[in-house]
Amino acid sequence: MNGILDINLQDFFYIVSAALFVFGLKMMQKSESARKGNLISAIGMLVAVITALLGSQILNWQWILLGLAIGSLIGALSSRLVAMTAMPEMVALFNGFGGMASLLVSWSAFHQLYTSGELATSPWNQMVIISLTLLIGGVTFTGSLIAWGKLSGKLTTRPVLFPGQNIVNFLILLALLTAILYLGPLQGVLLNYQNGILSPYSIFIIIMVLSGILGILSVIPIGGGDMPVVISLLNSYSGMAACAAGFVISNNVLIVSGALVGSSGIILTNIMCKAMNRSLTNVLFSGFGAASTGKRKNKDQQGEVKALSVEDAYYLLEAAASVVIVPGYGMAVAQAQHIVQEIAQLLEENGAEVDFAIHPVAGRMPGHMNVLLAEAKVPYDKLREMDDINPRIDQVDVAVVIGANDVVNPAARTDKDSPLYGMPVINVEKAKTVIVLKRSMNTGFAGIDNPLFYMDNTRMLFGDAKATLQALVSELKSK
């Protein structure tokens, strides 16, 4: 069943496509060329799709067209409509869809072998590959759905823990391993393979269901504050799933691009873990932030919370010669990035030097704050990384913390009992005055109390960040 392109030409075009992916990613290293890089990568994808279509006789063209049309419509609409603040949810969901697609490819391959009666004679390594694709695809899909639910607030952001969780996970992994062995290397050994209690097809379905459960169980114990790690990891999984699907259909371009995405996700995961001073195992299994900090509360609440009126905040900022704004996820929730930029501009017109300090894990995905502030047209050179701002923060007159909590928690440096201890944070409390914009005295996403709020030089500005900032803007404009 040959198509227009013979096998050599197909291989050639797949190599071209893989090379375009590599170039595209390489151009992502510079912000000037990143946009072109994305385009080149998209062209690579187009080459791969056309090659696949011309590679063999097209039996089901009407279904292919239908699938492409529905997928393009949903993809285009959602990418247009999504708010920049909701980007983490969107990426989590897309990761899941990638995993689902790989799962379905593996299922289709299995079904074809089953119906054609080739199952019993197919080599064991092929069965292992099909099962592994199913496993990785399933874990990616349900894991991403849970991550999406947590990020969009549809599920609790608290870690969900139950007794014996790790034992249950271990048993599921064991069952999965057994099932894969049974489908793969042991199929010839077990005589009852074809007529046994469990048909190969039911084992296949069992692997699918167990992978789905494993995906759910591995993401629910992870708290909201750790989501940047989780979506990086799921990003990596979606690449590995594509890579495994490449082994199923023996296609190099899937393996190359899957591996690129897989390693990209691992690097981002690693960067996120380092920024929190924690190991990946700690993130995945510790249920970070689940135990509420009951006993610590007494210790920390020695100082008293000093609330501030908008007018007082205006006088503080008006007199400041240098201001550092530390945004966090709360700014995204309040959709306050535009008004933050307006304030920064007004303060600059007033003669102050204004910088933005971005913690690597601020927000819910790597680089989240940069995207939001770019949307609000904050110039690049105003965005400072944590290591850049910390050495000179003691010369700053006013640090304004907008919806950030854990990334400015001084307990990470001072309190050995704090779950955050050892995490690099932005040392805002060393500024002369700290203004913290906060909805209420509730603990942050990770559920950890913050001694910063009780410090002598801290002033709390309670209320919705956007409304508060709006009021501040009119103060600044009127005077």
Binding site: S41, S263, I271
Partner: protein
């Protein structure tokens, strides 16, 4: 074996390239690489074009079509959203 060779080399290549991407671009990097993981669309198409076999059973058509839908969402949505983000980044740079 050759396929594993390809896997190992591309993984190292991936580490080399990605490690140099600045933190500023991590979100577009993630959505862009996410779109690349939609390459599984090739597998989905191949399962429908009949390259895997007869490909005419109802179940296989259903599975293949669903795979094409999911992979296409991933590809089209991923690239478009990355473009949308990067457009904001570059526009600002021209201003400076």
């Amino acid at each position: 074996m050759l396929l594993i060779f390809v896997l190992v080399l591309s993984t190292f290549l991936g580490f080399e390239i990605i490690a140099k991407v600045p933190s500023q671009l991590h979100t577009p990097l993630m959505s862009g690489s996410n779109a690349i993981s939609g390459i599984t669309i090739v597998g989905a198409l191949v399962s429908l074009t009949g390259a895997l076999g007869t490909g005419d059973s109802t179940i296989q058509i259903a599975l293949g079509t669903a795979a094409v839908v999911f992979a296409t969402i991933n590809v089209v949505g991923g690239y478009m959203v990355t473009e949308r983000m990067l457009a904001m980044f570059t526009k600002k740079e021209k201003k400076e």
